[in-house]
């Protein structure tokens, strides 16, 4: 449960295009780390390297090290499928499986992995839906299709699906950007609860959101369009938003650019 991530000298490519360069940082367990920065600076790409989803994109490859509690995710003999079981992910747009019911959506990770006990399935689904603050809204229609829920409910369904497989780390790629303020609030409250059990990394364009939910904040930037994105600084969220050590961070946060 809740492992530490240690990244050192990470560079990621799409084919020959270098998307991010030489990123090193530590993500503490049982905390929320937010990534902020202008569009195209490689926040999402970096996030996807943390559970080896980056290489799903054709031409995607990575140099450097990502240690999950001292084990290199890119070491030889590491199975990317097992990595993704320990490092779960929630996407920008809610994407429940359209052929499956609400129950089956939450159970999908366990069922498709094949390692579960049938008797426990209902219990795990209930626990995950409660964990995602969705149980009370859907408990009477668990066998209805998941695509019939509202956008915010769908996103919480996706979070329930991700935590049902009991990952150590939860990556969230702009989980609220497609949602209204009420649903966003629901998800933010949820993030606050989930950090008791998981290590959470969240990409967001919304700086208030980063200030509200995260313990530490990392600022990414790129020197020019077409140049690889870089990590400018990472620090406690309070410091980043009150007294950052780099001028570019202050400019971005105060709205002077971006």
């Amino acid at each position: 449960m809740a492992k530490r991530i240690d990244v050192s000298g990470l560079t990621a490519y799409y084919g020959s295009h270098k998307a991010i360069e030489d990123i090193s940082m530590t993500v503490e367990p049982r905390s929320v780390t937010a990534f902020i920065g202008p569009s195209g600076c490689g926040k999402s790409t970096f996030l996807r390297t943390l559970n080896r989803m980056h290489e799903v994109t054709p031409g995607g490859r990575v140099e450097g090290k990502v240690l999950l509690d001292d084990e290199d995710l890119y070491g030889s003999g590491i199975d990317p499928v097992s990595v993704r079981r320990e490092v779960g992910m929630v996407f920008q747009r809610p994407n429940p499986f359209p052929t499956m019911s609400i129950f089956d959506n939450v159970a999908a990770g366990l069922r498709l992995n094949g390692n579960y006990k049938k008797a426990q399935l209902g219990e795990i689904v209930e626990k995950s839906l409660k964990g995602a603050n969705l149980w009370n809204e859907v408990k009477d229609r668990l066998n209805k299709p998941g695509s019939g829920l509202s956008g915010g409910q769908q996103q919480r369904l996706c979070i329930a699906r991700a935590i049902a497989v009991e990952p150590d780390v939860l990556l969230m790629d702009e989980p609220c950007s497609a949602l209204d303020p009420i649903s966003t609030l629901a998800i933010e409250d949820l993030i606050g609860e989930l950090k008791e059990r998981f290590t959470i990394v969240i990409v967001t364009h919304n700086m208030q959101q980063a200030a509200r939910v995260s313990d530490r904040t990392a600022f990414f930037n790129l020197s020019a369009v077409g140049q690889p994105g870089r990590l400018i600084e990472i620090d406690d969220t309070e410091r980043i938003f009150s007294n950052p050590s780099v001028q570019a961070t202050e400019d971005y946060i105060s709205g002077r650019f971006g």
Partner: protein
Amino acid sequence: MSTAAVTDRRPSTLRGARLPKWSPWAIAAGSVLVAVAIGLAAGLTSRIQWGLIAAILFVVGTYVIAGRVEGRRQAKDRIATSLVWVAFLIALVPLISLIWTTLARGVHDFNLYFLTHSMGFVADSDTGGGIYHAIIGSLEQVGLATVIGAPVGVLTAIYLVEYGRGRLARAVTFFVDVMTGIPSIVAGLFILSLMLMADMQPFGFAGSLALAILMMPVVVRSTEEMLKLVPNELREASLALGVPKWRTILKVVVPTSIGGIVTGVMLAVARIAGETAPILLLVWGNAFINNNPFSGAQQALPLYIYQQYANSSGSPAAYDRAWAASLTLIAFVMILNLAARGIARWKAPKTGR
């Protein structure tokens, strides 16, 4: 002052003169009447000529009337609409005519006796007999062809969409395109050459092999399109749960598109059910019931229709049988299409609450 305001009001620029809603129908009826009058006056015997004159009158009349009343832009809009309608009606003519003719002439012999008896001991010029042997042959040959062609086609499409990169995938796509254009007689000759090399006699399964060759590219193409419609986000969602790629394809990608895949396979089956040339070369035809597709000549519906027409030297009984068999074949294809639609609707991703 108020009168001045009234006289000052200009005509609205947003509201122009419009033809009433019933005007297209009126123009259509008018052009048909004029066309009939012209046809009678000029002594044109062909109803097709009457129809074409009516179609031209309709398009031209719509343009002229709309141009006078509504202006040029609306006239252009209406001429496009009327052209679409005329094209639609012209396309319907052969379809309705074909179904009508087949029904009218096929219904004479179409009964339970016809469906349950073979042509054994019935000369082609005599009355009686039926198509039981041809139905059995068609079902077995098409069924076996589907068992071979559908899995190969679906798996090829899965390779192309989910795994295929680089040169091999491009080559496969190219050859699938080439295969789509293979004439059915060539597929038949290909299997025939193998059969001759192995010194074999005609049998049903040889026909199935040729039909499978014809079926595969159709299945590959339609399945490919269906798999491409599955959003990438679903694949990523599954992969991010730690599901292996093959299970993601099996449990998420294929179920999401299964309705479309089944429809594609059914349409391919309908296409090969009407193939005559390879059956003629490889299965030969047989007046008797042969339930075994792996040994001995068989019959099939399209070949039966051809032989009734060609071998009977114009006997009316044979012609009636040919029409009734055509009706059966059309019904068979229609049932397959309906089944495909039913399955597609049943399996489509549900959106209800």
